[in-house]
């Protein structure tokens, strides 16, 4: 489908139209210049993000804490959700949603809570133009602009945006607003191409020193017993911040509690860094030591996940680097253990 163009002045009209269809969340910037995703009704306007938001998209689909069952009861905890749109998602976060889709929607059992919210979501991504120093998407097969996985994608150009349609849902919402979208012109596409090239180069340049000489899986196959893992884990305080902030971390636990005459089952985020995460009742624990749990994250993202789904479970968003109180930088760790 040929890309569209929407003028700066027409975008608010489109967002207002989206608001009639459901909730709308847009990127804004906080006092410290960080990109935040907030309800459009509060933010008042969409701000060009330039880079991934501070928080990932994960909580929109996979709640930090939610009730998934009550018993004994005929009632279901499953509830239909309202349609919603997220405008300004980064390419790496679009990739993260693709990763979570595979986990929660594939196989014999789908997670109905995740599925419902994914069905009701409209993801409008935005090309990165101002990568952070911690961005390394290009090292894990992601580009600073999304090529798939979005419903609509925005690229900032003079006077407006080039709008790429990536799904039937995207087609529907543009078709309902033909007055706002017109075919993108040659000069718009050329400008998009130039900006994308510039950003890509920037991320490539800052990632060069960490670039793997061979595919990650090949390198990690030989790195498990490397003696520098222990040194790299020294500043880890097992807080789990890297995992909770991670856009693809999927782990959760089921927790039951009493609620008057019945019981509720809650599903809440969990973290594989915690000592008893994999322990069984008899006491056996496959990852007793912190260094084993530390390695598990790297291997899950760059070896186990690709073995299951064919692409990296890390998107290179760099949030774990920013979140770590121990200043652990995934790029540096990988460079050292895979040297």
């Amino acid at each position: 489908m040929a890309p569209y163009y929407i003028a700066d002045s027409d975008l608010p009209k489109f967002l207002s139209w989206l608001e009639k269809r459901g909730d709308v969340y847009v990127t804004t910037k906080d006092d410290e210049g960080r990109v935040r995703i907030r309800p459009y009704s509060e933010a008042g306007q969409f701000t060009w993000p330039g880079v991934r938001s501070y928080q990932p998209l994960k909580p929109f689909f996979f709640s930090m804490l939610e009730e998934v069952a009550e018993y004994p009861s005929r009632e279901s905890s499953f509830k239909e959700s309202k349609p919603f749109a997220i405008v300004g998602a980064s390419a790496c976060d679009v990739r993260a949603v693709e990763a979570l889709d595979r986990v929660f929607l594939e196989g014999d059992f789908k997670d109905p809570f995740y599925e419902e919210r994914r069905k009701k979501s409209l993801i409008v991504s935005a090309d990165c133009t101002d990568p952070l120093e911690t961005c390394f998407c290009v090292l894990v097969g992601v580009k600073p602009h999304a090529e798939k996985g979005f419903d609509l994608n925005l690229s900032k150009v003079q006077g407006g945006y080039v709008v790429e349609v990536g799904s039937d849902k995207g087609k529907e919402v543009t078709a309902a607003n033909t007055g706002l979208f017109r075919p993108a012109g040659e000069q718009h596409l050329a400008e998009r191409q130039a900006t994308r090239q510039k950003t890509l180069k920037l991320v490539e340049q800052q990632s060069r020193e960490f670039a793997p000489p061979k595919p990650w899986q090949e390198l990690l196959a030989k790195a498990y017993d490397d003696n520098t893992w222990a040194k790299n884990v020294e500043t880890c305080v097992e807080c789990g911040a890297c995992l909770f902030i991670c856009p693809t971390c999927q782990c959760f636990l089921l927790y039951d509690e009493k609620a008057r005459d019945r019981y509720k089952r809650l599903k809440m985020w969990d973290a594989c860094a915690y000592k008893r995460f994999a322990q069984v009742a008899g006491g056996a624990n496959p990852r007793k030591h912190l260094v084993e749990r530390f390695k598990h994250r790297y291997y899950h993202k760059l070896d186990y996940f690709p073995k299951n789904y064919g692409f990296e479970g890390c998107t290179g968003c760099g949030r774990c680097i920013v979140a770590c109180p121990g200043k652990i930088d995934m790029r540096k760790v990988l460079k050292e253990v895979c040297r």
Partner: protein, 277 residues
């Protein structure tokens, strides 16, 4: 498994009977409020209301669908409370989940079963499933070990009834780690009876279930005896929480044990770190 939105909701089940198997092991006979068909080796999550779930493989015959039996050792929080529950109490059951024993691929073969301790629970379900269609298999050699003769579970079955089923086709070898005057059988860990098998190795499969240390040494013994890695079926015990391949707790490298197992062949996990922990 309930459909649509109720994937995490347990099916209420009444405890019909509690059988004491050994000082630390009890069998719970349950009647679920709806039938839960399963295959031998698949597992279910049993809920103690308000406390939480723990994963167990049923020990009953998969042919029987109105009731389910779970043989459970007192080990942690959930099993601790389960052991205080009585006839008439209600628990929850969610499942079945995972992949069981691929019995169709065992057709025409000789089957070696090696069990230890409470690991006999899933093996009982397997054994009953095998006897449901005994003509399909050439031979069953069942080796079972427990700490002492007191710790043997299903005594009336394994010491008596099962031995009389079809002695020409089904052989039992029992062992206890520590002997006592009344025990006339073998004394030693179960691997001491896993020898001189008299099996046609080219046409055999082996099934192992028991505590981690026993699984490890039994597997090494089977490899030493010439069993190819891909016919050694191991019941892996991991922390299965969601049971549906999502929550990450039971990961064994790239495998979600709940989704890809709990029965896995040795070739898949050989050499991976900490498989026996």
């Amino acid at each position: 498994m309930p459909v649509a939105g109720d994937i995490y909701k347990p099916i209420l089940s009444e405890i019909l009977e509690v059988i004491e198997e050994s000082p630390a092991i009890k069998t719970f006979v349950l009647r679920p409020s709806e039938e839960i068909p399963f295959e031998a080796g698949q597992f279910m999550e049993v809920t103690v209301p308000g406390l939480g779930e723990a994963p167990f493989t049923p020990s009953s015959n998969p042919k029987v669908t109105e009731t389910l039996e779970f043989t459970i050792m007192r080990a942690g929080k959930v099993t601790g409370v389960l052991h205080t529950m009585k006839k008439g109490d209600m628990v929850g059951v969610r499942g079945p989940m995972g992949k069981g024993y691929p019995l169709d691929t065992y057709k025409g073969k000789e089957i070696l079963i090696v069990g230890g301790g409470v690991g006999l629970a899933p093996l009982r379900s397997l054994f009953l499933a095998l006897t449901n269609r005994l003509d399909d298999f050439k031979k069953i050699l069942f080796c079972y070990g427990s700490k002492t003769s007191q710790d043997i579970i299903y005594k009336s079955l394994i010491l008596d009834q099962w031995q009389k089923l079809n002695p020409s086709k089904i052989e039992f070898r029992l062992s206890v780690d520590v002997g006592d005057p009344a025990w006339k059988g073998n004394v030693g860990v179960v691997t001491t009876v896993v020898k001189d098998l008299g099996l046609d190795m080219a046409n055999s499969v082996a099934v192992v279930c028991g505590p981690p240390i026993m699984m490890k040494f039994a597997t090494l013994k089977l490899v030493e005896l010439g069993f190819p890695d891909n016919v050694i079926y191991l019941s892996m015990e991991k922390n299965m929480s969601c049971g549906i391949g999502k929550c990450g707790h039971c990961m064994l490298d790239e495998y979600m044990v709940c989704r890809d197992g709990p029965v896995l062949t040795y070739d898949k996990i050989k050499g991976k770190p900490a498989i026996w922990d």
